[in-house]
Symmetry: C3
């Protein structure tokens, strides 16, 4: 746990107005996801983790209504102080900050003389430590703190121009306005600032757009401060991965990889054993327990939770699945929105399609599909079956090739899909079908190859197949084969 | 698009005679593939992309007939000027170049005084930019241009020996003839040259094989030029990955990885979203559209094309498959030589084995195999079925466990596999089989569990199963379970 | 092959007493596996590969009985000279070495004046070359040889403190006792030593635990030697990957990756073609033949052997499987403890669950599960079937959806699972079940959709299904659909 700062310590402007044209996507940039969470929410989560009482203004532009709605509906919005500022035209970061400081939000910040942290929404990898160091109080003489870092390839970033090689800062020059010589430096600014709000207010009004892009650059405030002989703090950040931007799908993939490495490393340090952590993709929202083993190529998404000592086999894909303790999920199993109880084995190549509830000690074998199905303790469905809209009791044995015919084209009481109920201790032979709605009573025995169209009484044998006839010598006579 | 050079500007000798003993493979080295294309064709494609009117001589030795045939049958051969020179014995690169310049091809080149680019066939990663720079016109005083690069580990490559550390070149010394001190340099030659053809002609006749390998080295021409006080241009290539050779299966895997990274990066920059680009393998011949999402572990091969906004789920493997727009290919789906129409969903774990044609809005679900089958719009085949040699109409519902019995051991009119035809709007219950050749007419309804051996008239109900009998109390009496 | 040293050359102390608390696992650290082999066994295998006549003492503590038993039962124990020393309390590496040298084993070593190599069990990546160089004879004046290496991030390791920057060694200081300045050095000790046994005996008695950890450090012996003006040999090891320790699950994953890269590179250099070697996981015990192709994501475990020119498709997982020559294992196939003969094709998504024996030229297709089943030459089981406890002859054709009902709840002659026997040349139609125990005689033909409950005579046709009835116009009348 990081030490949290003074609750009322600052305002935060999150820059989220950009469309992200280079993403070449319909989705606005701030909503692209890594680790199962939109870029903007990564930034908000880091802000409120370190500054729970921050007053946040999100500057929106492209698709602002969509983003505003998503944020408004999120839990983070309910707990924290967030407002939205719409930037009418995307005229640059300087204009965005100006929109914020000129807004109602800005008035409150100025009234309280709170300093203002500026963060772009497309830096999902910023760390708590970075925010904490950026928001250390500014001494009276300091107008702004600027974060810089060194990129091996600084292409596309604003370069930090200093007086001499390691001298004090002069200005930041955007890539497109930089001379060849200026482009040589590896030190860049990534649009992370901490301003005295009065300085931000005053200076943002003076920004000009006389540059190659025709935009208002927030970076120009650095030169303004230099011209006015204001002191500038520089926080040079060593771990440049923390401030990698996301400007196209290739950078998004890199950010996804870095985020994933953080997530898997965190779990590994807590005792989760990954055979190949670089091939497994674990959403930031997933929870793993001690003693869990994750085989190569596993994908765990959403609200998935894995209980102690469970083993997730190679290439399993679980989305919103709660797995109990000592469960074996075998190779290539896919599950969505399901609960799998303690001591179950599932797979390989099982498909828990939707909304299944599996009790304990259940065995689900290969090429089995379940949908909206409940399975009781100690039941076995070992091979090549489909159960949909079914309730199966305890200690049931379902043979190979079983099908719940939950749809026959009819609509009964408004439902297109009908229920199959199978009681405790039923033995269902192989290659049976139950035409729903239908109930097979407790302890009943259904002979292999039967199509069950009517209810089966408890303890009875149901059989619906033809007698076998052997025609001796038939093959030779008829010349088959 | 790179600027293309003067159409008649040069000859090109591609060195493809080597067996590649260290590959330890039956396949001749030039035919090993990365990105779904043989090494030799990568080199030819780069040559003709930049020099469409180049006159190419491919020097062949090991398995020369096989390679000659493959090249002759390829589209590149039909459009461009390619001839073959057989090197009778593999006596080194110098001998190979000599064979070419002494051939009929060489006579033409010499007659036209065209300069000659020499390229090894095992450098599949050469870039267009490299070829353009290498084939910049040679000034009159320059006999040859030599490409060098720095490898962190130069083991196995000919070292560039200079007068002093950064002085002019003296000679190139092959690894096996190099002194320990000479081996220290990281600057190497990779058998890429651009010669005045007259110099190549004259000097290649003077090559000797008095060295450790007993081979004629092309590298010796550098020393010849120095001795004769000829000027040598050196093109020092910064991106050494472009000129990594392929000498064994380990280097082939590295080249494959580099080529794949180029391919996926190209698509990502065009807006294709890869969750884990380093785990997906996309042949160079594949075409992707904007808005496509590629999940981890996808393999796309051959002439596969993916339409706009389609999603290719984890670990899908598509070979020569044309996918429409907004299609969802789910986890682990395998498809070969098939067409999948717009708005379909396929998988997870579906297997479109061969020559299938799926119209629009079709749902193919889990554990379904299709072979030589046509499926009409809005049809659903959701679970555990096999359809082979079938034509299925529109809006058909195929239940779980359906099988087209396309083979019964008989040969009818010369065919071992027989056709199943299912009309529009048919409802096929679960666990049905159709014994082909057979037709199920439009709008017919087949009851679950039926084996259909005769045609079903349109609009009729077909049923072929036994009545269910429940033997009450049977289980207790017989002591089953 | 490395040159092996004088057979009686040395004693070896393997430090394996640690619990490995940071692993956060129930398994003692030395038993964690990479490449399918426990860390301790990797170290023992390297020791005996280079020093077959070494006299090894394994110092055990945490779970010493379990480890002792495992080692005792291993082949390496039967061939080589291994004894166990229990360290009663885990009081540090110095105490561990002292326990060993004070033991009966130590007495023998001292009596013979053998030098002693000390190796931690958690360095599974040590190379033969490292052991050979470490155990070069010590000249008379040298008390110990110390292995050091440079880590880019030396956190957690004992730092080597020298007189000046490159001067002679003064001492090793553990991370927790190091000053900030001392922590700056990248040169570390990794607990690999080669001692004159008399020096080890004498000095280990003098160790003190007055340090931050309250432990007896083996590293202190370096300072003791310096104080007594003894000569210390330093072997500075360039390849620091060889001596990466395993202290938590994250480091275990890194070690696993490095070990796997060594294994796949070894096979690639022998001509095995890996499309993506970094995604395939090959146990050190697996054997591959020339001409084998391994597609991405393959996992080969245990005693798996792959025959010449076989192709292992993407994401196949084989454990203890013997595969013949020119076999095609297709995408996603899973097999355990089975034998697959020459020229077979298996998969995609086939599951050879346990103890299957497949003869030659067999085709096993998609979504087929086999368990304890024998399949004869040229037999085909192409789609969606389950065979358990079956013997299938030669040239058999098994249709789609076949099930051996090997379990019906009854116990016959003490067996819960019953046998199915299918003779040569049988044609089994689709969607058939055989209720075991049952025999289908040679050349018989079983009609599609039949449930076979009684034996079928050779050459006869067995049929057990109902006649088809078509109810014309039924759909329109009844309003189905």
């Amino acid at each position: 746990m990081h030490t949290q700062k003074d609750p009322d310590s600052c305002g935060v402007i999150v820059l989220a107005a950009g469309q992200g044209k280079r993403m070449k996507s319909q989705v606005p940039k701030a909503l692209h996801e890594i680790g199962g969470k939109a870029l903007l929410f990564h930034v908000l989560d880091r802000v409120f983790e370190t500054l729970p009482h921050a007053k946040v203004a999100i500057v929106l532009g492209h698709e602002h209504q969509k983003i505003e709605q998503l944020v408004s509906e999120s839990p983070v919005f309910k707990i924290h102080d967030i407002c939205f500022v719409v930037q009418p035209e995307q005229k640059g970061t300087g204009d965005a900050a100006k929109c914020a400081i000129n807004s109602e939000w800005g008035e409150k910040i100025l009234a309280k003389k709170l300093p203002v942290l500026v963060l772009p929404a497309d830096l999902p990898l910023i760390s708590d430590e970075l925010i904490l160091q950026m928001t250390e109080p500014l001494t009276r003489s300091v107008s702004l703190r600027l974060l810089t870092t060194e990129f091996q390839d600084p292409t596309g970033y604003g370069r930090v121009i200093r007086r001499g090689k390691k001298g004090s800062i002069l200005r930041i020059v955007e890539e497109k306005d930089a001379t060849l010589r200026e482009k040589q430096t590896n030190e860049v600014a990534v649009s992370i600032y901490f301003f005295q709000s009065s300085f931000l207010k005053a200076m943002s009004q003076r920004l000009s757009n006389r540059n190659t892009q025709g935009e208002y650059y927030l970076t120009d405030l650095v030169a303004f401060a230099v011209q006015r002989k204001k002191t500038i703090d520089i926080l040079n950040w060593k771990n440049s991965d923390d401030v990698r931007g996301v400007n196209n799908a290739w950078e998004l993939a890199h950010a996804q990889r870095l985020m994933n490495e953080r997530v898997v490393k965190k779990w590994a340090m807590q005792g989760v054993q990954f055979i190949d952590p670089w091939s497994s993709w674990i959403d930031v929202s997933v929870e793993l327990s001690s003693g869990v083993t994750i085989h190569p190529g596993v994908i765990l998404r959403g609200k998935t939770k894995i209980g102690p000592d469970s083993v997730i086999g190679p290439r399993s894909v679980l989305t919103d699945v709660v797995v109990g303790r000592e469960v074996a999920i075998k190779t290539g199993t896919i599950a969505d929105s399901s609960v799998i109880g303690d001591y179950c084995t599932v797979g390989p190549y099982a498909h828990l399609r939707l909304d299944n509830q599996i009790e304990t000690h259940v065995k689900i074998g290969n090429f089995v599909e379940l949908k909206k199905t409940k399975i009781g303790d100690y039941t076995s469905i070992a091979h090549l079956s489909y159960l949909g809209d079914a309730e199966v009791g305890k200690r049931v044995n379902i043979g190979c090739g079983f099908v719940t015919c939950n749809f026959d084209g009819r609509i009964i009481e408004g439902e297109r899909k009908h229920k199959t109920i199978i009681g405790d201790d039923v033995f269902m032979g192989s290659d049976c079908q139950t035409v729903a709605p239908v109930t097979v009573g407790q302890g009943a025995y259904v002979a292999s190859g039967s199509t069950i169209t009517e209810n089966v009484e408890p303890g009875s044998l149901a059989i619906a197949r033809s007698r076998q006839v052997n025609k001796i010598g038939y093959v030779a006579k008829k010349g088959i084969n």
